[in-house]
Every structure is written in structure tokens, then in C-alpha cells.
Symmetry: C2
Amino acid sequence: MLTVLTPHEALSLIKEKIAPLPRMEEVSLGHASGRVLGKDIKATEYVPGFDRSTVDGYALKASDSFGCSEAIPALLMKTAAVAMGESADFTLSEGCCAYVPTGGALPKGADAVAMIEYCEDFGCGEIGLSKAVAPGENIIFKGDDVYPGKLIMKKGRRLQSRDIGSLAAMGVVALNVARRPIVGIISTGDELVAPTEVPKDGQVRDINSPMLEALVQEFGAESRLYGIVRDEEALLAEVLDKALAECDCVLISGGSSVGTKDATGRIIESRGEMLFHGIAMKPGKPTIMGMAKGKPIFGLPGHPGAAWFVSRIFVRCAIEKLMGRESAPITLPAILTESVSANHGRAQYGGVSLFMKDGAWQASPIRSKSGLISSLCAADGFFCIPRDKEGCAAGETVEVTLYSTYQEI
Amino acid sequence: MLTVLTPHEALSLIKEKIAPLPRMEEVSLGHASGRVLGKDIKATEYVPGFDRSTVDGYALKASDSFGCSEAIPALLMKTAAVAMGESADFTLSEGCCAYVPTGGALPKGADAVAMIEYCEDFGCGEIGLSKAVAPGENIIFKGDDVYPGKLIMKKGRRLQSRDIGSLAAMGVVALNVARRPIVGIISTGDELVAPTEVPKDGQVRDINSPMLEALVQEFGAESRLYGIVRDEEALLAEVLDKALAECDCVLISGGSSVGTKDATGRIIESRGEMLFHGIAMKPGKPTIMGMAKGKPIFGLPGHPGAAWFVSRIFVRCAIEKLMGRESAPITLPAILTESVSANHGRAQYGGVSLFMKDGAWQASPIRSKSGLISSLCAADGFFCIPRDKEGCAAGETVEVTLYSTYQEI
């Protein structure tokens, strides 16, 4: 029996069935960006490790400043200055102050720093302060940022440069990350020739291999290409078995003929379990998925536009699960500039380009026939018309899933 | 004279003063993802190269189907089937049809394809068609996607996997991309120790070197670390000269003491031109920038949070210009959950975490003292309170610049 799922059901099943790869690897901090954290990171020290000034100024007891003003400055006795990078191993007495640079250590006894802008050096060892400070003002206390045991980052986080900063602050110079899943990519179809070749009449270039390779790398996986396989079940079975032995996940794209789709399905079933045989969505309906040896196998549409699109949703989810990660898109509400009809009984996805008008994002639908690859480039993202809706009217607000946080100018 | 610019003025000046690096490099398609396109890409061929069917079905003359219905099917004579990957070098006569698989070539004389679901094979060489098709239905014509001379992608585009698909479709297997700018990174400050070391009292780890390294790599640049330089003008000048000779752009971070900032400014001025000496923003006010030998030099705040933040806006813009690229963020409107005050006379930026409530994004401000690096990790993006505004009230809609298109679950 053929199981056609909704996109939501397909995603749930992928999340349920795929377990994270068992083995992790250790990388140095310089190689951690873009990788997925394998374990929770808890702090083992204090950051900062000592009370620090956040300004250039004079450390003092705040109470010594109370009531001062421009007219009647508080007078404070200047004591030893604190040098950057050195500890302040003296204690400040009442009525005294000590120069501290931004980031410098606070002497004991001080509980605030007065900004230098409000201090006048009278030249005779005395400082005149014209603005009162509150206890704690202009200070970061030891452990304000991080203290031992504080959960800093959860496993499954895909590390960005700002995370690298936090890790460096805590002296984490090596860490456990998920191994990059190896994704095998197989293209099938008698009409396919390599992108380097000039297609004859009836032939087209294999777009999916290089495109899916780049896509799975965007997800944080490694790719392994198995080339173009002719439309024969025995050949496909042989290549799939090789890919299954060498990879953590396998993508078979193409095979748009019914025969090949059936063949892919039969091969998956003979080696493992079929999870779904079609998704109620457009584009992407002929997508199939199964598991063998605990490894996900996807049969993707042959149309490159459709293959890219379903991979971005479902293969992405599978690869993230293999790395112990789950994420959801931040969608942008935008006003549809034209009506888009839908009456297929399945969720319909469409690309849009975004532009700003009167302070609101407008989503202009990209009209294209199925399989047009160049239209993908014009989109800033996509929106979905649910299966029970006959379309979206111009002026309606739709939720756009973004392809990037930036637009080219 | 010290020139303090608004963030907008600083960006404009960066765009005006920085020219793209002259030399490009050629990469193969498999290495093009993430790179910036060096030249416009115009098509030199047709995609598809022949009229193709978008469904499994029968190619026919549409006029032969007009008026047919389930009750009165149109009868068509079955002729030679078209095989995938082969040309259809025969001409279809009136009243005839030919089987064509999805993606298969259309025989001459045919102007539509009837989906197989609406065709019944009567077994005697005749096909019964129960639904009329319009001319052009279920066909992608030669050149529908791409035709010679069509502008496919503009130079300056940062290539993603979907672009790789379009390039592969056109047989572009090698292309010119902007050279990755080499960005030199220098940390200054007597208080700094390497992240591998355990800081003593008064010392802190050099967070900025590994963090800025990861950040410039996110922008598509290469990094070169010059380590920690003590707070001495002569030493700094020596390292800066070396970096200027070896790199396309130099970042000096730290030097939070007034003396070092002045030193950085003096060194830049003695070697080239100072563009600005401060930005009217918080965080990031002490940011300075100049040019020497046509290369941008940034003096960044010592606080890692501030250094990361201003780099993400201004260094990003500079690196993109070096690659011949300009981009602008897609901002997300979100409802502020708490009031945030501002009264500094400068643009104030604050991190927010996003969550969905009643179908609308809510932006929860992240409270943190200046320089707290761990608070950066908690943010999904940031918003800005303009310099002439005293704050933003709870319930107000703010525009959030996103750090990612996804959120961890």
C-alpha cells in the first residue's frame, strides 16, 4: 500500500525515526564554526574572573560620592592607579579613589567607578567628582557573565562566530561536535548527461548531483557523488548498496518515470522499511523515503526545482537529526502582491521575491512552470497554501520562509 | 579633528571608499557555493534544449482533444513511443498520439500532452482520451527556462546551492568568482592572554581573535591571525605594517585604553587616511576606520560583544565591497515584550530573542551589561532605537535584523 503523508506528518516521522549518529568528534575552536555541538557546554570558571571596570575612571566607595554635584564636587584622595592586565592588590579606604582603565581590575573596598568625564584632577593629589555614582555602577562583577555550572549552550546548537566568542571566553579550546553525516547522491535517468557534456536532443544535463552536493554541504553534511545511473533496477540496486555501505544517508534523484520510482521503492523495501511513498505537496509529490540499516534513503523528484525544494525541507531535517539537532524556520509575514490559486488537494508551495513598500514587506509570487530551475534563483523565500485552501488573494498576508537573512542590492 | 559619523554615514563612506579587489579567480562548479560571482552570467544555450513533456502521457495535437469527455472520449491512433534520453525524430499526424514519459522529447506536430490518468488504452492501437487539453498544456518549450543572451545572475551574487543548479543546467562548470579577501586580525591589550591560558587576576582571555576569525569566514573572507600585541605604539605599528603588506583588510581590536585608540589612529593617519573616528552608536562608539594602500583598517572596540556587533555591520560591508558585492538585511517586524530606554544621543542597538505568540513574533530584549559575551548567544537578532528616540515601549513593533533564518528547537 502506498502511504502518502502530509508535509507535517512526513517531518514528524523523519524526526521520530532517525537517531543521532553515535560517534562524535573533537575539533579545535578554530574549526568549530558551522559545526553542531555534541554536548551541553557548562561553564567551569567565572567570566570575568575578577570585578572589572566598564569605563575609564576612578574606583571609589559609592557612598563617598553621594550628594556631590557640579557646584559642590566630592573630594577624593588619589591612591595607586591600576594597570591593565594586573591585579589590584590593595584595599581602597574611605575617601580615596584609584584610577582604573576600562577592563581593569577593581581594588578591594571599591564598589563603583566614576567616569573620568566627571572627575577633575586638582593636581594636589585630590580628585573632584561632580556626579554621584550608585553602588555597582560601571562595574562587571566576577561571574556576571558566566559562573561555574551555568549552562552556556545546549547540544544540537549549530555554532556561529558569536558562540566561538563565548567558548573562547571560557577557555574552551577543543570541543565535541557531531560528526558530519556523509550523504551519498545518486542521479538516475536515461536522459541525463554530465554537466560538462553538451546534451543531444532528448538529453538534459544532470543538474541534481552538483546542486544537491552544494545543498547538503549547506546543511553541514559531507557529500559523496555516485554519478548517473541508467534506468535499470539491477544497476540502481548495486549503486544504492554501495552508497548505503559507505554513507550515513542516501539521496536518489530523478527516476521520474513510474518504473524507476517503483524500482527505488522496491529496492528500499527489500533492504529495510518504507516510511512514506509520496507527500501531499506541490512541488514534491513523488518524494519517497525509507530506512535501511538505520540510514535514511530519499527518492527525490527528477525536476531539479522540486528536488531542491523538498530536500531543503525534508533532507535538511534528516541530516540535522543525524547530527542531533532540530530547528524551525523564522518566517516573515509579507503581503502577497498577486493572487495565487491552488486546488490540488495538497499543500502548494510557491517562491516569492520580497520588496519593501510603505514600511511593509511585499511578496511577489514567482510564476514558473514546474521544473524551471532558473526561477529558484529569483526567490527570496517561499510560502505555503494549505491543502484545504483554494488559493491566496492579493493583499493577503502570508508567512515567508527565508532563503537568506540578506538580499542582494 | 575627530569625525564621529552616524551608522548610516559610516556605511555610505565604506561603500564609497572601498573598491573591489582587481584580480578574480576561476573555480569549478563544485567549489563555487558560498563564493561571490565575479561577472554577470548570461546564457549561451537553450534550457531545455528541446520541447519536453512535464507529465507521463500521450503527446497529441490539442485540437484532436477538443470536445471530448468521459462520456465521449476522443479516439487517437497510438504511434511510436518516445524513449527517455532520445530524440523524437518523427512527426505526429492528425488523429495520432505518442507515449512520452515525464521529461521526454515531444515529437514534431504535437502541441500538448494528455496526462496518462485521462487516457485509456483500448488495446487495439487506439487510445481513448476523456479530458481535453489546451495547446501548450503539460509542455516546457525549448528555451522556456533559459535562452541565449538571458541574464541569469548578476555579478556580486553570493552563490547558494540553488544557483549551482542553474549554472549546472547551462553547462557552466567553471566560473569567475571574487577572490576571498584576506583579513588580518590583531588583538591589543596588556590584559590579554591566549584562550589556551588560564588568566591571572586582572587578565582576560583574547576572545576577539578566534571570534573575529570565525566571523570574517562567515562573510566569505579568509583570516590571518597576528596574535596579541602589547599596548605599545611602536609594536602595534610594526605588526600593522606587516598585516597591511600581507592582507587586504586589517582589524585591530582591543586597545580600549584611550592611549591605544589614539595610537591606532595616529598609525592609520601616518600611513593613509582616517575615514571616521567614532560612530554615534551603542555599542560600538569607539570604532575607528581608515584606509592605507587602498586597504581598509578598522579599530574595533575591545569588548568582544561590541567588537562582534560592529564587525557584523561595518566589517561585513567592507569585505563585501572588496568582493564587489552589496547586500541589505531582510528585517522582521516583531512586538517588543518590554520597554527599552535610550537617551544617549546615539543609535542604540539591542539583542532580542524571538518567540511566536498569537500568530505574531514577539521580541524579548536581552538584558546585559556591556561586554557580556554570553548574552550574544541568546539573541536571534537585534533591533535599533534611533538616536532621536528616548526608547521603545512594550507593545511597539520593532524591525529585527536576524542572525539566522532558523531557530534551534
